[in-house]
């Protein structure tokens, strides 16, 4: 059975890989096509669709907004998750279990509902500025990723090293920053990267909390596609893939991708 097993797995692997990779490759190829609509095989070769990205103000501005929002949301989520996770992992009582669920809960609310409810309450009802609302929505998206990885990292780290630091004359605060934090940087960074990618690529929340001058890149792409079907979208998709790939390679190299994909 061992070899049958292996064969079966390879077939699944190859089929998955094909149906996952072929469409992605197709996008990359069509982004260089000279025809005015996306077509395959391509007739001529051009870089003009890549140039066109920069002609579209909505993409440039979307990219900048995406960077800003993803960065700020990931940072604040990590900053909030770090002390919270510390308090949570030191003691295991009912209150802490409840709070842990709160920190991990947003991931379970259907994102369309989350986006719609934030839009209705923060933007329409409370008249929060759109950018602040968007940022808060993305903070909620990022929090579970950071919290999950930091909690896991702290659970894994032997608590007696911290106790040793106290006995050797470190206060609790100093032990936290000198001993605990340096030993869970991988978890903190993984959580940050995962937050960033998810926030950057998010659609359901961003689509509700966008408006004039506040539009993230994925929603800008979606909007553009409603009126155009030209290879500019292929080009920008290729750029996004390239960025994600670079990001992942960096993460794999620096962090060993620990807890990153899985």
């Amino acid at each position: 059975m061992a070899t049958n097993q292996h064969l079966f797995m390879r077939i699944i692997g190859i089929v998955t890989l094909f149906f996952l990779l072929a469409p992605l490759l197709l996008i990359v190829v069509t982004s260089f096509g000279s025809e005015p609509t996306i077509s395959f095989p391509i007739k001529g070769f051009t870089f003009s669709w890549y140039a066109n990205i920069f002609a579209q103000d909505t993409f440039i501005q979307g990219f900048i907004t995406s960077l800003e929002v993803a960065l700020l949301a990931s940072l604040t989520a990590a900053a909030a998750a770090l002390p919270a996770a510390y308090a949570l992992t030191r003691k295991r009582n009912r209150m802490n279990r409840f709070l842990e669920n709160v920190f991990l809960a947003p991931v379970m609310v259907p994102e369309v509902v989350l986006g719609f409810s934030l839009y209705s309450s923060l933007v329409i009802y409370a008249h929060f500025p759109l950018f602040i609302s968007l940022l808060f929505g993305h903070f909620l998206i990022c929090l579970p990723y950071s919290a999950r990885l930091i909690i896991a990292g702290m659970r894994q780290f032997d608590g007696s090293a911290e106790e040793a630091a106290w006995i050797l004359g470190s206060s609790r605060l100093s032990g936290f920053f000198k001993i605990l934090v340096p030993n869970i940087t991988t978890s903190i960074l993984s959580g940050f990267l995962l937050s960033f990618i998810n926030s950057f690529n998010n659609i359901p929340v961003s689509v509700f909390l966008s408006g004039p001058n506040v539009n993230m890149l994925p929603t800008a792409i979606l909007n553009y596609l409603q009126n155009n079907y030209d290879p500019t979208v292929s080009a920008i998709s290729s750029c996004l893939m390239l960025l994600t790939l670079l990001f992942m390679l960096l993460a794999e190299k620096k962090l060993g991708l620990k807890g990153f994909v899985s």
Binding site: D158, S160, A161, I167, L168, G169
Partner: protein, 349 residues
């Protein structure tokens, strides 16, 4: 170093179950005292309470006569060696050892000098730049020892420091700890569940059971004169005979009707005990008066290398005897057991 006094230490997490119960300890300056007991007896909790990692509900802790019960853990000037080594994974060996000194604001060149001296003492000077993950368990434990000694703590705590090491290393490490302790005249409190480790290393031993200290005595005294059946069982006595009443200063009537002579037992002993290796196995009934002689039948034997261990069926139940004679008695063999009256100890309940 310093003397330690613990007075009436008590701990309960829920106010109902008593984790520690009226713990009293006196450790002299330069002495090594062990807390010995099975897992869950409270020995580690006692150590952690004294160190300040756990807050006791009650009791005082005195170091050189000064009450430090209210002092925060990081101001107590103690050292501690953990079972899990608890080294700082992101620091190399030298930085691990220097950590406590830096907290005390010791500066270069004194810092490096002290770290080097200490690493030299534990034989790891060549490993200064290594990281904990690159060291074996025994090496990690030596770094841990160096790290806790370099700050010249008033007291050194060792929490089952050897139980993650293999048998050979365990003997080496315990001799090294004992040698350093005697040379530097350190005051140590050592927690272990291993009686041979405990006897090999300690000046005094506190045997703990269910959150209380059952006996606190010198190693020799614990070994030869266990006070209670729990202590006796824990340190390797295997035969226990219930006493119905004492007939005179030396003779005891057992539950089963036999009379045993026990030379040193107190008249109010509730049971008698003897080590398996102190029972003599005879093939024929001796000519003597037959006192302390019991007939029996070999049930089962085990080869121990230098001796045989027998389970022998007698009128007093199954008796465990160990004989270092080269001759092996087969199962079913009828023998006579001689219980030397000086080796029979009396126990309280």
């Amino acid at each position: 170093m310093a003397a330690l006094d613990v007075k009436n230490l008590a701990l309960s997490y829920d106010g109902k179950t008593q984790i520690l119960n009226d713990i009293n300890l006196h450790v002299q300056d330069g002495e090594l005292v062990s807390l010995l007991g099975p897992s869950g007896c409270g020995k580690t909790t006692t150590l952690r309470s004294i160190a300040g990692l756990i807050k006791a509900n009650q009791g005082q802790i005195f170091v050189n006569g000064k009450d430090i019960s209210k002092v925060a853990v990081y101001k107590r000037n103690f050292g501690m060696v953990f079972q899990s080594y608890a080294l700082f994974p992101h620091l190399n060996v030298a930085d691990n050892v220097a950590f406590g000194l830096k907290n005390k604001h010791v500066r270069e060149p004194e810092l490096s000098k002290k770290v080097d001296e200490m690493l030299d003492m534990v034989g790891l000077l060549d490993y200064k730049k290594r990281f904990p993950s690159e060291l074996s368990g025994g090496q990690q434990q030596r770094v841990s020892l160096a790290r806790s000694l370099v700050t010249e703590p008033d007291l050194l705590f060792l929490d089952e420091p050897l139980s993650n090491l293999d048998a050979k290393l365990r003997v080496e490490m315990r001799e090294m700890i004992r040698a350093i302790q005697q040379r530097l005249k350190l005051t140590m409190l050592f927690v272990t569940h291993d009686q041979s480790e405990c006897f090999a290393i300690s000046d005094h031993v506190a045997v703990m059971n269910r959150g209380t200290i059952e006996q606190f005595d010198s190693s020799e005294k614990i070994y030869h004169e266990p006070a209670t059946e729990f202590v006796a069982r824990f340190i390797g006595y295997e035969n226990f005979f219930s006493v119905t009443k004492s007939l005179d200063r030396q003779h005891f009537l057992l539950k089963e009707g036999q009379v045993f002579k026990a030379a040193g037992a107190s008249p109010n002993s509730s049971s008698l005990t003897i080590r398996p290796e102190n029972i003599d196995i005879l093939e024929t009934q001796p000519d003597a008066d037959g006192q302390n002689i019991l007939p029996g039948e070999v049930l089962f034997s085990t080869y121990l290398g230098d001796s045989y261990r027998y389970e022998i069926q007698t009128a007093l139940g199954t008796v465990i005897a160990v004989s270092s004679s080269d001759k092996k008695y087969p199962a079913g063999k009828a023998v006579f057991l001689d219980f030397p009256s000086r080796k029979l100890l009396g126990l309280n309940k």
